[in-house]
Structures are given as C-alpha cells and as structure tokens.
Symmetry: C2
Subunit: 112 residues, 2 copies
Amino acid sequence: MESNLAVQRLSALAQPNRLAVFRCLIRCGPAGLPAGDIARLLDVAPNTLSAQLTLLAQAGLLTRRRDGRSIVYAANQDAMSDLIVYLLEDCCAGRPDICAPIADAVARAACC
Amino acid sequence: MESNLAVQRLSALAQPNRLAVFRCLIRCGPAGLPAGDIARLLDVAPNTLSAQLTLLAQAGLLTRRRDGRSIVYAANQDAMSDLIVYLLEDCCAGRPDICAPIADAVARAACC
DNA sequence: TCCATATTTCAACGAATATGGAAGTATGGC
DNA sequence: GCCATACTTCCATATTCGTTGAAATATGGA
C-alpha cells in the first residue's frame, strides 16, 4: 500500500462523524445501509452526510450501489485490512520480542 | 478506547510527515531517535518537526525522554495496538464469515 | 406527465491545521 | 560565567476542512 493512500484513509477516518459512519457500516457487514438510514441513525444533515460518505468512498473505505431510490453504502473490509497491515509493517525490525505485544493484542481483537 | 481518543490518534497519523515519523519510530523500536536525527532523516525543519512530534506525543502515540541535550522519541506500541483493536471492534456482528478476511490479513501481517 | 422521496452538488462561510521565522529554554563543555 | 548545540514555543500567514442553505439530479408511483 502506498503512503499517500494510507494518509487518505487515515484522514477519512480522522473525524468523529466519519469514524462513526464507518464503524456503523463495519457492524452492518456487506449488506450496508442506505444513506438516509445512516443520516437518521447518526442525526446528521443529509447533505453533510453525503459529503462525508463521498470522502470515505473516495478513500476506498466504502462501496456504494443504488437500490431503487436509495444509495446503499457498505464498508470495504479489504481497504481496512490493507490499512492495518500497512500500519503494522516493519514494526519490530526483525526482533520478535519488540512487537509481540502488538501481535497479541491483534489476536485478541479477532472477533470471530 | 474512547471514540475521541481514536479520532485524535487517527488525526495525528493522517498527515504524510507525521505518518513517516511514526513509521520510522516503529521501525526503531523502544530505542527511539533524537528529534534532530528524525529531522535530518525526513528533511523537515526542526520547529515544524517539533510541532508534529508534540501532536503525536499528545495523542499518546510517542513517548519522549531527555538524553543529554537531545530529546529522544519512541513509538508507543500499546497506543497503536489499542487503536487497531478499536478499528476491528464489532467488525462482523457475530458472523465469522464476514470478518474472516480481516482476521487472515492481520495474521499474515504479524511480522514476527 | 406530475409529484414526492432520496440523495447529491454548489457556493460560501467560519474553524481548524500546517508551516516558517524569530525568540526562548535547557544542557554540556570550556 | 560564557558559548554552542538541541529543541521548543510563539506568532503570523496561507491553506485546508466541515457545515449549511439552496438548487439540481435520479427514481418510483399515481
């Protein structure tokens, strides 16, 4: 993954509403949610939310598809794993004792 | 981890220079690097870098200690693991098939 | 076709951020 | 004490970001 893309994704997530949107969609899984439902759930103006969704989608963190009058957004898990892998890269310079704590934490986080 | 803290950490990482600083320090491990060395490595003005280091440290992503005339910065791995755990939280709403790809990617990323 | 719903785009404003010059603080050596 | 080194803090400026009202687009139903 390129550094620019990582920054773009981190920027997209680095805002309270956008992080909430993303986490909400992560929990929804591939089914996703229409923009309107997200706006209601998070109590954000539709046009404001639209800008936020666009930003997340441009960063590759969300996918969008039309379903009738609604536009359904869903989290892109690959983008998320790529970002995490990038952040963990080269974390111990070959010394396992250094990054063992991180590896442990990640293993515990595996939710399934 | 609180949402606010997650946003603060994501914001701190969401800038090319700061991400480079953090990755550089992750690779250095607990030994860390003096501010001046980082400035030279990344070719950033000392005062600009100082502001960036302060921001990363305030987010808890870096620790600092004085060593003679130098101030040595090191990556805080716990902060990083906490952030990653937070980002992975609730990722599959109880359905293992959904987040298996993420779990796989993270397992592959375990560098040691 | 006409209307209502769902969402986006545009333009503009205030707020927050990034950077750099200049001055300040802390440490170590003479 | 004095000076050089290593960083930081302060301040001003330019840029970017987030939000909102208003207008535009797309879809589905009567």
